[in-house]
Structure formats: structure tokens, C-alpha cells
């Protein structure tokens, strides 16, 4: 402890050096938040362990993570948005972020497979999302145990675990959206917080453009926290900054000359039109024969409680003032399901965080949390009396029992998901290819193994991702032969195959199997194509 003699100074800051000021600030923050940290940090550790254990082996590899990781790899090593031509199918901020993380930490080099690096990124995203969910719960007005239960529901749900382990853009959108809501509810209500909130939402939209459907809910949350003393300037600055960040995407297309459709080139508006109008609809949830119904049944196989509990919680949540924007967010998601239109199977990720928040929020309100109602004073009327106490205790008791039952019902699934020992068939296939195939052979491969074959094993000419075989003109122009096919078996059995990758189906007819891995839906067979066959 040093002592200083103070002459003629006005402020304490002039005497205390900067390092000590920072240290004092940090210590004070830790001290005032110690109870929350004691609750949150162990919970985050549990969520991280449950997510990380066995993430290399379960679930099986699917194509979208492979695509995004190949684009992230291309961003880092080729300074391009895609190894093939970028055609504005998704906004690029998601895989750019993966690329930046890899640049900082040598991600692709550290892991044996690109999917492994993607898994690490998804782990980080899960932990960050869980932390932000806790903060959002607290800022809405929940108690510490309540917010902790939200994190537990989100982090331990098997459905969220399965989909959260895949490197989807939705898993990167979730932290950004939650950050936007957290900052929108900032207690200080400064222009900085509001601008940060708008920028976070813009980043979410730049990560996956479908995040824009949550814009009404975000605006409602933002508006709930405004103070009329600085409202005008705050809205002007925040809205402008958010729009500016979002506008960088069409500006990028404009500067490249690819904004409007034209012959022989990609265009932002052309792709947007195709996505909105011409894509095949999955059908509404209510249509029993549509794809959506099948997708929904798949989700329910993993877990019913969080999904259906969230749906049930929407109407009572609209009665609670602070929960309304979150209820709107969840309602928008469910409306999209009911409406139909093109819905990919990872859409469930949009619904789960809000479900957890709403279930606990409604129960807390029923148990007597008056802050959630936006009130400043505690209860009045019958709720303050004996009857109120009985009802509250009853609700708390029921909630605790329900939580115990839920976690108990999840435990077997979780145990199974974290204990898978066999590696995914595509990983084994990749090993076989690396060991047995000369590097100058032309391969047509599944997205998930493309990056490894290019980066770790240096295949030259580069392997071709199966979806690009017939859709990318540059690939077709330079295609002379195909030597090997490395894809899951169901690619050849699905009825879409002939329309999406006919060359591969045709090659398959002229090929012999040389290796087989796995069994069931994810089985992979490696085919060697006849040297006499040439693609047309």
C-alpha cells in the first residue's frame, strides 16, 4: 500500500495512476456482480461440458456446415467469399466471422478437420448465447434462479444440443440477436447502448438475412426501453447506424457491379428474387403430407418439452409487459412455420432461446415477480395477502418439480449424445481417401470433407463439391473427368438427385464401390468411376 501526499489537486484521478484505476474498477464490478457470477459461471461450465463432450462424433456430418466452413477457409486463405463464385445466397458475415477467428487463432491449422474447427466455434457460440440469455433474463426482471433456469433449459435441451453442434449460421445469429436485445434493455439508456443494439441486430441480419423477420420484435423491445428525454436523438443515431451496417451488403454488391440481374453474372437482386419466389415451398405445418410436418416430427423426436412448452407459453406471455417482445419473436417463428414457404430444417434454432425465456418468464410472473410486469412497487391487493403467498408458493413448487422432471427426462438423451464413440462415416471416408487416393485424381465430394482434402491433403486439381457440379459454369467448363465419388448413400436414392446433380448420378452408374463406412442413413460408400467414362 503506497501513500501519496496530495497538493492542490482537484480530482482523485490525477493522483491515482491509470493501472490502479482500471484494477479498482474491475474489482468493484466483480464485487457488485458476485452473486450473479456465482450462479452463472458454474452453469456455463456445465453447459459447455455437455456441449463439448462427444461433439466430434455426434451428430453426423451434414452439408451446410461443410459449405460454410469451406467459405470461411476461402475467406482466410484466398481472401474470397467462396471457393466458388459467391452468388449472394446468404449474407457473408457468418463465415467471415469464422474466418476471422481462424486467422486469429490458426483455427484450420489446429484442428484435424474443418468440422472440428466449426465445432469449436459452435461451442463458443453456445456459451456466449447462454451467458447472454442469463443477462437478458435478468434485465427483463427475472430473479437470479429464474434466469439460471432459462440457461439450464437452453443449454441442456437435447434438441438444442443436436442442432447447436452443427455449424449453422443460425447458431451464429443467436448470440447477435440476444446481444441486440440485451443492449436494447440497457438500464443506462445511453445512445451508446442503443447504437450497439442496432449494430448487433444489423450483424445478425448480415449473418443470416432471415434474422430480419425478428425486426418487429426487436423494435418493440427497443421502444419499451426508451426515455423521452433523449428519445429523438437516440432513435436517429441508432437507426441510422443499424441501417448503415446493413446497407454495406447491397453496397458491396453495387461496388462489384453485381446488384441488378444481368447476363452471365451473379446478382444480389436476382438471387433474392429466386429465394423469395421460385423456391419450392415446404408446405405449412398443418399440412400432414408436407415437408414441414415431417421436419417437425423429427424435432419432436429429440425433445417435446421446450418446443411445445414455448408454444403454450406465448398467450400468457403477452399479458406480461416485459415479456411481450420476446413473445412476439417466438410468435413470428411459429407463424412462419404455419404459413409454409421454404423452411430449412435448422429453423428450430430460431424458436428455442425464446421458448426457454418465455416458459420461465411466465412461471416467474405467476410466482409473483412484479418487475416483469414493468411495475416499480411490489404486489397489492389479494396478491399481497395470505392467498397470494399460498398461490406463489404453489407455483414455485410446481415449477421446481417440473424442472426436475424435465431434466430427468433429458438425462438419457444427453448421456447418449455425449457418449457416442464411433466417428462419423464421412470422417472415416476422408481418412480412407487421404490414405489411398493419389493426389492428382478428380474427386466429387460432400461439402463437409472438401476443406480438409484441399487444405490438409492438397488434392490438385481441387475436389468438386457435389452441388456445384452442375450449377457452377466455371466448374462445368473445366470438368474433363471424374475419378472418385465420396458421398453419403442417400444422395443417390433421393428423388431430387437427378435434378440437382445429374452428372454425379450419371457417374454413379459407371462406378464401382471401393469402400464402405457406417450404416443406416448416414452410411458412406466411396465409388471409383470408370476411366473410360467422360462427363458430357
Amino acid at each position: 500500500m503506497t501513500s501519496t501526499v496530495v497538493h492542490d489537486v482537484v480530482g482523485i484521478r490525477q493522483v491515482v495512476p491509470m493501472r490502479r484505476q482500471i484494477r479498482i474498477g474491475v474489482e468493484e464490478w466483480l464485487r457488485s456482480h458476485r452473486r450473479g457470477l456465482v450462479v452463472l459461471l458454474p452453469l456455463l461450465a456445465v453447459v459447455a461440458v455437455v456441449h463439448a463432450k462427444g461433439m466430434a462424433n455426434y451428430p453426423d456430418w451434414v452439408d451446410d456446415p461443410g459449405t460454410y466452413l469451406s467459405q470461411a477457409w476461402s475467406f482466410q486463405y484466398e481472401r474470397a467469399l467462396s471457393p466458388y463464385s459467391y452468388f449472394y445466397d446468404h449474407t457473408p458475415a457468418g463465415w467471415m466471422l469464422l474466418g476471422f477467428w481462424s486467422m486469429l487463432t490458426n483455427g484450420f491449422g489446429r484442428h484435424a478437420t474443418a468440422i472440428g474447427f466449426g465445432n469449436e466455434c459452435m461451442l463458443i457460440a453456445k456459451v456466449v448465447s447462454s451467458g447472454l440469455l442469463y443477462v437478458l433474463g435478468r434485465r427483463l426482471g427475472m430473479s437470479r434462479p429464474g434466469a439460471a433456469v432459462v440457461v439450464a433449459l437452453f443449454g441442456l435441451c437435447p434438441l438444442e444440443l443436436v442442432y447447436g453442434r452443427w455449424t449453422f449460421l443460425d447458431n451464429i445469429v443467436t448470440p447477435w440477436i440476444l446481444l441486440a436485445f440485451v443492449l436494447a434493455y440497457s438500464p443506462r439508456r445511453s445512445i451508446a447502448a442503443a447504437t450497439g443494439s442496432a449494430l448487433s441486430f444489423a450483424m445478425a441480419a448480415l449473418t443470416k438475412e432471415t434474422a430480419l423477420i425478428l425486426l418487429p420484435a426487436f423494435i418493440w423491445a427497443f421502444a419499451q426501453n426508451l426515455d423521452r428525454r433523449n428519445r429523438s436523438q437516440l432513435i436517429a443515431v441508432a437507426a441510422f447506424c443499424g441501417l448503415l451496417l446493413m446497407a454495406l451488403y447491397p453496397l458491396y454488391a453495387l461496388y462489384k457491379g453485381e446488384l441488378v440481374p444481368g447476363p452471365d453474372r451473379n446478382s444480389l437482386l436476382g438471387t433474392a428474387r429466386w429465394q423469395l419466389l421460385q423456391r419450392q415451398s415446404s408446405g405449412s405445418l398443418l399440412d400432414p403430407h408436407g415437408t414441414t410436418a415431417g421436419m417437425f416430427a423429427d424435432w419432436l423426436r429429440y425433445d417435446r418439452i421446450l418446443l411445445l412448452g414455448g408454444l403454450v407459453a406465448i398467450p400468457p406471455a403477452f399479458l406480461v409487459r416485459r415479456l411481450r417482445p420476446a413473445a412476439l419473436a417466438l410468435a413470428i417463428g411459429w407463424l412462419a412455420l404455419l404459413r409454409g414457404g421454404y423452411l430449412p430444417f435448422m429453423f428450430v434454432l430460431t424458436l428455442l432461446p425464446w421458448s426457454a425465456l418465455l416458459i420461465v418468464g411466465v412461471l416467474e410472473r405467476a410466482a409473483g415477480n412484479w418487475r416483469l410486469a414493468g411495475r416499480r412497487l411490489p404486489l397489492a391487493g389479494w396478491r399481497a395477502g395470505q392467498a397470494g403467498v399460498v398461490v406463489r408458493n404453489l407455483v414455485v413448487g410446481v415449477a421446481v418439480v417440473a424442472l426436475a422432471v424435465t431434466v430427468a427426462s433429458w438425462a438419457p438423451s444427453l448421456r447418449q449424445m455425449t457418449a457416442v464413440t464411433g466417428e462419423p462415416p464421412l470422417r472415416s471416408a476422408e481418412r480412407w481417401v487421404a490414405d489411398n487416393v493419389p493426389r492428382n485424381k478428380v474427386l466429387v465430394v460432400h461439402d463437409a470433407i472438401w476443406t480438409d482434402l484441399v487444405q490438409k491433403y492438397g488434392f490438385q486439381p481441387r475436389p468438386i463439391i457435389v452441388y456445384k457440379l452442375d450449377t457452377d459454369p466455371a466448374v462445368r467448363a473445366s470438368l474433363h473427368r471424374i475419378d472418385y465419388l465420396v458421398m453419403p448413400d442417400w444422395y443417390y436414392q433421393t428423388p431430387d438427385g437427378a435434378s440437382k446433380y445429374p452428372t454425379a448420378i450419371e457417374a454413379h452408374k459407371h462406378a464401382v464401390p471401393v469402400a464402405h463406412f457406417g450404416s443406416g442413413h448416414g452410411a458412406v460408400t466411396i465409388y471409383r468411376v470408370s476411366a473410360l467414362w467422360r462427363p458430357r
Binding site: 489537486v9 439508456r189 445512445i191 433523449n230 429523438s232 436523438q233 454495406l248
Partner: protein, 611 residues
């Protein structure tokens, strides 16, 4: 440090720089980082409070490291055959590190003890104006060279610089609305009954048009015990002096005329103010505070009660009250009716083609007094706003003790410097902006007048910068803020000017898309500034009951870029004048346009252009 150097090296190599050059560049860069790290972290305690300037330390550091490097390189071929390559290398490395440490400790970062007498009242040595301007010109030339050689890098540097300036401008201007508490209507408290006596000094020169009404208004403010001291020059300006004496005869218990000293040829405000204070002392007038009013100011009657209240509650040394220009719109009634033919038509024409810069000027004041000054007061760096400023007697005595006089006789903008000095001496400044109590002023009559006024201010800022009083501010943060505030006018003008130029250059040169996107951001922030200005014009109109029409907003929007041109021109002109050392006092013409015409009975208002 090593990692940073490695990254720099990799970046340079990736950019295609040849390895030798890349290695040299990264070595130099790492050495400078080393110096910064050493002086800020390792040796901070030893060197804080030392008299040795930073550049001397830097020079010593470079010499020391160069010497030890050369010595190691020279010793290596001598040692290596004797003890082997590897041991020679490692031992030289260790020895070099030890030598570096000793040189750092005992030479480069040696704490020089000052003698107590020297440290008592240390005044800064002013810098030579020519050096400063040469520095600015040099930087501009270097930037131009970079543009010619490597346009992409130039675009990146300029865009980043403009984004920083534009963002900090925005933050400064939005301070009042940053958090809701900053804009709370009850943030100043309720003034009770006043307790402190005081005096208002009114320097007047060639002000017959407005002197009478001003003195009458100033005499009737709501405060039980204060004096009004008009300062008039009996030799040169008998007309104004007569009016002042008439007012003194009318209210002898309130108005005391102070004659400008006859023994000097120079005529400026500070000399008159000093004389007035001396007169107060000689006559033994009791006063606790002193206020400055310009000849055309309209003080609100309740202003002094608020000032009194703030002095007592905050204990500040200075209370700065809000000043607001009022004639923002193209409403012809806000301008005086010129004599001669087609007076109304000419007035309409003048109102409409001057509306764009008048609106911008009014909004500048609006943002300056509400936001920027408060932020600077909170940070302790305080170029003052000019008039409607009140000083505590204790603070004036401290000024006298440090400098020998209350106001600096030579300074062009006495208000800028005195604020800085207050920060240096540690006196708090309280900024009070209450919509009803603001002092209402007017913009200059013509664009040329506005330009001259702006040149005068900018030159004043440069002068304060050159006097290096700001280097005496207590903490590094305050010094950086002071530097930024003093240079702000220039940075803002040029950043506003260059924003579209940067984007146009990037598009024309077909720069990489990332750089073009970066060059778009400053232009976007300028657009945000314009939007906020339009918003604030509406708020201004609502607050002061002035009708803002669509044409006013359109004028503001279309005139935004020309306004930046005018500011940049003023900046260049001010720099030239500063370099030549021209310090005379450029007065701006006032025509009393914001007075109620019924009040001006004695003389008809006459607009005159200053020489």
C-alpha cells in the same frame, strides 16, 4: 512486442514489400513500440514529474539502442572464433540486454530532480507559429506523396482518420442527449434567493445603436446587489461614452462608467476588462463575481439568480451560461430593413440566400453550448464559449497571482485561453443551459462577416495551442482532449470537405471493394450529422417558438457541404494569418436585429461593414 513485430513483418511481406526493407521497417517500428512501452510501463514512476522533454528521452533511447546494437554486431566476429558461434551469440544477447537495461535506467529514463523553486510556478514556453504551420504543411505534403505513390494506403489512412474525427464530433455533439439524465429539465436545481454581490462588465466600442437599450436591460435584472460597468473610450468613441454616462446618471446605484485607459495605443477587450477590475478595487466595491456582457447581449432577468445559485451550490470558479443565436430561418422579419429603394425585396432576397449558413451557424451554437461545452467541462478541458460567462473573484485573484494580470492583454480570443487556464489551475467550470435563460445573440450580417468571425476564432484557438498552456493540464487524458478540442475546428472542416472526395477517388481508382466500403463510412456519418441537424432545427424552433419551414430545412440540407467549404476556407486563412503573426482585433458588425424595434428609440440602427 515480439509477436507484434512478427505480425508486422508478415503483413509487410504479404503486401509484397521486399524482405530487406520489410525487416528494416519492422525493426524500426518495434523499436518505437519498445520506447513507448518502456516509457509508459517500465520506467513510468521514475520519469513522471521529470523536466526532461519526451523528445530528448526518445533521442537518448534511439542512440543507446543503436550503440548497443552496433557494439554487439562488432563484437560478434571477434568473440565467435574464440568461444564458438552459439555461446558468442547468446552471451552477446544477454550482455546487450543488460547494457540496454542500464542505459535505460541511468540515462534514457533517468528521473531528473527539479529544484523546488523551479517547480513552483512553471509556465510553458510558447511555440513558434512558423514551426507549427510548417508541421501542418509537412503532414499535408507527406499525405499527398502517399496518395501519388500508393493510393490504396492513402485512402485507408484518410478514411480511418475521417471516421475517427466524424465519430468523435458526433459523440461530442450528442453529449447532452447521451443519457437521459443529461437532459433532465430539473438538473440545475431551483435557484433560491441570491446572496452574492457582483458586477457585470460591458466593454463597448462604437456601439451607439445598441448601448442604450443594453444598459437599460442590464440594469433591470432580478438581483438585489450588482453593478453594471460599461467600459467606454472617451478619446475615440464619445458617442457611446455619452450614452453610458446618461445611463449612469439615470441609475446611479447600479451603473458605474469605467474609462478605457488612455495611456495605450492598442485597443482590445482584455485591457478594458483589466482596467474595470482595478477600478472596482480602487472604489472598494464589494463583489464576489464578475460577469462579461457584450454590447448587444440580451440577458434574461432571472439569469443572475441562477448564476448566484450555481456559484453557491457547485463551488465552481466559472459559470458559463448558454448563448444562442436566434436568426436561423429565412424569415425576412429576422433581418433589419435596409434603407433605400426596394428595401423589402432586398431584405427578402438577403434572408433567403443567407438562410443556409445562418441555420448552420445557429445549430453550431445550439450544439456547442448544450453538448460540447458540458462534455468539456466534465472532462476538465474548457475553451469557453465567449460571453455570458461569470467568474468568481477567487479565481480572478488566482489568475492575477499566476500571470500578473486578470486577462491576457495580447490574446485574440480571451475566452478560449481563460478556460484552459481554469482547467490547469483546477477550477471547475459549470455550464448552465436553460432554454429560457439563454442570452440571445445574432449571427453576423453577411457571409463575409461570418467568415471573418470564424477566422478570428480559429486563429485564437491556434494561438492558445501555440502557447502550450494545455501541456500543463494534470492528466494525459485531459491533455489529449485539450489537443483535440483546440485542433477540432480544423479537423472537422477538412474531414467534412474530404468525405465525398475520398469516396469519389476510391470509385474512380477502382480500389478494392473493402477500401471503397471503408471510404463510404465517413460520407455516411456526415449524412447522419445532417439528419441530426435537421432534427435539432425542429427542436430549436419548438423551444424558442420560431417557425421552421420546409425551405429552411432544405436550405440547411443543401448548404451542408458548402458550409464545410466555408469552414475549411476559414481554417486556411486563419493558418496563413497565424503564420504571419497578424494579431489585430477583427470586429464583427452587429446591427441589433434581435431587439424589439420598439425599444430602439434613440438612434436608428445602421449596419456597417467592419474594416
Amino acid at each position: 512486442m515480439g509477436i507484434a513485430g512478427h505480425q508486422v513483418l508478415l503483413t509487410l511481406l504479404a503486401l509484397g514489400v521486399i524482405p530487406v526493407v520489410a525487416n528494416t521497417l519492422q525493426a524500426v517500428l518495434t523499436l518505437q513500440l519498445n520506447f513507448v512501452g518502456n516509457s509508459l510501463l517500465t520506467w513510468r514512476r521514475r520519469t513522471s514529474g521529470s523536466d526532461v522533454p519526451v523528445r530528448v528521452r526518445w533521442l537518448r533511447f534511439q542512440l543507446a539502442r543503436l550503440a548497443s546494437l552496433l557494439l554487439s554486431v562488432a563484437m560478434f566476429p571477434v568473440l565467435a572464433p574464440v568461444i564458438g558461434t552459439s555461446p558468442a551469440y547468446w552471451s552477446l544477447l544477454v550482455a546487450g540486454a543488460a547494457v540496454n537495461f542500464c542505459l535505460d535506467r541511468y540515462w534514457s529514463f533517468r528521473p531528473d530532480r527539479r529544484s523546488p523553486a523551479h517547480s513552483a510556478a512553471r509556465l510553458a514556453r510558447p511555440a513558434n507559429p512558423r514551426w507549427i504551420v510548417a508541421g501542418i504543411a509537412g503532414t499535408a505534403a507527406a499525405a499527398l506523396l502517399l496518395a501519388l505513390v500508393w493510393l490504396d494506403a492513402f485512402l485507408v489512412v484518410v478514411s480511418v482518420f475521417m471516421v475517427v474525427v466524424a465519430t468523435t464530433t458526433l459523440v461530442f455533439q450528442l453529449y447532452k442527449w447521451w443519457r437521459p439524465e443529461h437532459n433532465d429539465p430539473h438538473r440545475y436545481g431551483n435557484p433560491g434567493s441570491p446572496e452574492l454581490p457582483g458586477a457585470i462588465l460591458v466593454p463597448m466600442r462604437d456601439e451607439e445603436a445598441v448601448a442604450g437599450p443594453t444598459l437599460r436591460r442590464l440594469s433591470n435584472l432580478d438581483h438585489p446587489q450588482y453593478w453594471v460597468i460599461p467600459i467606454v473610450d472617451h478619446e475615440d468613441d464619445m458617442a457611446t461614452a455619452r450614452i453610458a454616462h446618461a445611463a449612469a446618471r439615470q441609475s446611479p446605484e447600479r451603473v458605474l462608467v469605467c474609462p478605457y485607459p488612455e495611456d495605450t495605443d492598442v485597443h482590445n477587450k482584455p485591457i478594458g476588462l483589466n482596467r474595470a477590475i482595478r477600478m472596482l478595487h480602487d472604489l472598494e466595491v464589494p463583489y464576489e463575481w464578475v460577469g462579461i456582457a457584450d454590447a448587444e447581449d440580451v440577458f434574461h432577468p432571472d439569469l443572475l439568480r441562477m448564476v448566484d445559485h450555481r456559484f453557491r451550490t457547485t463551488g465552481a470558479g466559472i459559470v458559463q451560461c448558454g448563448v444562442q443565436l436566434m436568426n436561423a430561418t429565412t424569415d425576412p422579419a429576422s433581418l433589419p430593413l435596409p434603407a433605400g429603394r426596394l428595401g423589402r425585396v432586398r431584405r427578402w432576397w438577403r434572408a433567403h440566400n443567407s438562410g443556409w449558413w445562418r441555420a448552420a451557424n445557429v445549430l453550431e451554437y445550439y450544439k456547442w453550448f448544450q453538448s460540447r461545452l458540458k462534455l468539456q467541462a466534465a472532462a476538465g478541458v474548457m475553451p469557453l464559449g465567449g460571453n455570458t460567462v461569470f467568474f468568481r473573484r477567487e479565481f480572478l485573484e488566482a489568475l492575477q497571482a499566476r500571470y500578473g494580470s486578470y486577462w491576457d492583454d495580447d490574446c485574440l480570443t480571451e475566452d478560449c485561453k481563460i478556460g484552459m487556464v481554469a482547467s490547469v489551475l483546477g477550477y471547475e467550470v459549470d455550464v448552465v443551459y436553460v432554454d429560457e435563460l439563454v442570452t440571445r445573440e445574432e449571427t453576423p450580417d453577411s457571409l463575409r462577416g461570418f467568415l471573418r468571425q470564424r477566422v478570428r476564432w480559429m486563429q485564437g484557438f491556434m494561438q492558445v495551442f501555440a502557447e502550450r498552456e494545455w501541456t500543463q493540464l494534470p492528466t494525459l487524458g485531459k491533455r489529449v482532449l485539450a489537443l483535440y478540442v483546440l485542433g477540432f475546428q480544423f479537423l472537422q472542416a477538412f474531414a467534412g470537405l474530404l468525405a465525398p472526395v475520398g469516396l469519389a477517388l476510391a470509385l474512380a481508382h477502382k480500389a478494392p471493394v473493402a477500401i471503397t466500403l471503408l471510404a463510404t463510412v465517413p460520407l455516411a456519418i456526415s449524412l447522419l450529422n445532417l439528419l441530426l441537424d435537421l432534427l435539432m432545427l425542429g427542436q430549436f424552433g419548438r423551444t424558442f417558438g420560431i417557425q421552421v419551414r420546409l425551405r429552411d430545412r432544405v436550405g440547411l440540407a443543401l448548404g451542408a457541404y458548402p458550409f464545410q467549404l466555408v469552414l475549411s476556407a476559414a481554417a486556411v486563412w486563419a493558418t496563413v494569418r497565424f503564420a504571419r503573426g497578424r494579431g489585430d482585433w477583427m470586429k464583427t458588425a452587429h446591427s441589433g436585429a434581435h431587439f424589439d424595434p420598439a425599444e430602439v428609440t434613440e438612434l436608428a440602427p445602421r449596419a456597417r461593414e467592419a474594416a
